[in-house]
Amino acid sequence: MLDIVQQIINGLSLGSVYALIAVGYSLVYSILLFSNFAHGGFLVIGGYICYYALMSYGAGIWTASFAAVLGAGFSAILVERFAYRPIRERTPVTLYLLIASMGMSIVIENLFVVTIGGRFRALPPVLPMQPVSVFGFATTSAFDILSLVVSVISLVALQLFLNRTKWGLAIRAASCNLRTASLMGVNVNRLIAIVFFVAGLFAAVGGIFLSARYTLYPQLGSTITTKAFVAAVIGGLGSLPGAVAGSLILGLAEMLTAGFVSSQFRDLVVFFLLIVTLIIRPSGLFGKAVSEKV
């Protein structure tokens, strides 16, 4: 019984970190309708900026995180500007964007391999890791609680941004129909830049937590994004509540499998859930129906 509560808390905490990455992913998908495989790159950029700010400049965790988040946000804008915009302006075929994003993910990953090496790095112990007792009947780590709280705060902030601000309204409009939104006077290029910036911000927050939980290495992005991406699909691509729900389901499934079956089957469960979702409900839990009749 205690084990279950503990694993559920761990699962929610991991799931909420996936959610940070999955919402960024879903935001980009809802506007441009392509799967941005380079999303994991922003996570790794954030992780490395945070690492170097902590190690080389002796910055505090707050300064380091701030720098990491901003750096990842701006690199996301740069990637969009130089890799995606030329394609976007030339053709409406989103599959070219998909391939370009695969290329970008390889480029970002290998930029790190080439410049600072593929070695595994551990973040210095700046985040609290000590065990915490939850209402006296289960123990979890302070880190799990912290990442859960930060993720929830970030997601609520995003929700407020989307619902209460003018740009939020523009993003919601563009996710219905980008072309019509542009006819209504929305500056599409700036809108897309903002979306990428926000996606980069969230990826970096997730990246810092993940590199503290595991270790930091250039390929971290592609392993984790695959999961965030699966979470976004389970919830329904392009739907933010879906991305969050999917991430929590995935985090729970992963932790419960690791805790009670075998940690070898963690990844298998992830892909099993993906395939079951796609076969039973291709548009995901909260997605719009997209299936063609075959």
Binding site: L33, F34, S35, A83, P86, I87, R90, T91, V93, T94, L95, Y96, L97, L98, I99, A100, M102, G103, M104, S105, I106, V107, E109, N110, L111, V113, V114, S222, T226, F229, V230, V233, L237, Q264, F265, D267, L268, F271, F272, L274, I275, L278, I279, P282, V290, S291, E292, V294
Partner: protein, 290 residues
Amino acid sequence: MGYSSGIITLLAINCIASLGVSLFTGFTGIYTLGHAGYMVIGAYTAAILTVQFNLHFVLAILAGGLLAMVCAYLIGLPTLKLAGDYYTIASLGLGEAIRLIIENWESVTRGARGYPGIDNYTTLPVVLAFFLVMTFGMFYLVNSRYGRAFKACRDDYVAASLLGFNTAHCRVLSLAVSGFYCGVAGALLAGFISFIQPVMFDMAKSTELVSVVVLGGLGSMSGCLIGTAILTLVTELFRPISKYRMLIYGLVLVLVMILRPEGLMGTNELTPDYLKKHFGSGKKTAKEGE
């Protein structure tokens, strides 16, 4: 085996796999990120059959291809109902799932440590024979009735089904054939390097398969062979600066998408007519519409 014949062998193997992906992605118009999964099925089937059951390698290679084909067919029936990006995503999951199953099925596959001691049956004549037969087979297929049906599905799905093509059947068939090609390529690869490991067939391999097809030109079999040749040779030539190899590869992929998204060959085949049109003096031959 010498260095240059090793490169030729590898090139031929890669070509067989990318022919399969080209049929599915370039001719039927469905993007896949999981075809390394069919290669791993082929590789392990051939490895287990030759090592444990002493089967003749030609039969083992064919068995690998056929098993991959059957798996592709069974996977295709439910998943090819998905549209656009969703199938691509499903294929990513399926490819990884196949790899993970093989990685965890230790009693049969020896797990993540890999499968050693495979006979070195992929010699140059063997691989060239397979390459020639399968290339001719593929060119014959895409010019046959089925090939035209695939192209019709790619170009306009709704119109094709209104014209009476069984589009669902076309998609599944195309996937099954491409699964066969990838399975055979995997089986040949197992015989070439005589040691296989599930991690060799991960998502990066699947990405590479799609990339060469896109680089060569979607809807061009000769383009996909050219794309494979370029990428395999570049990979080999950059071996001395192997650190930058993947970086260059990623940049090439992005630049091709920006500068020439239709790929090197577009939908043209490398035929005497095409050469005459682009490099000769006469402009009399109009390109045949795809």
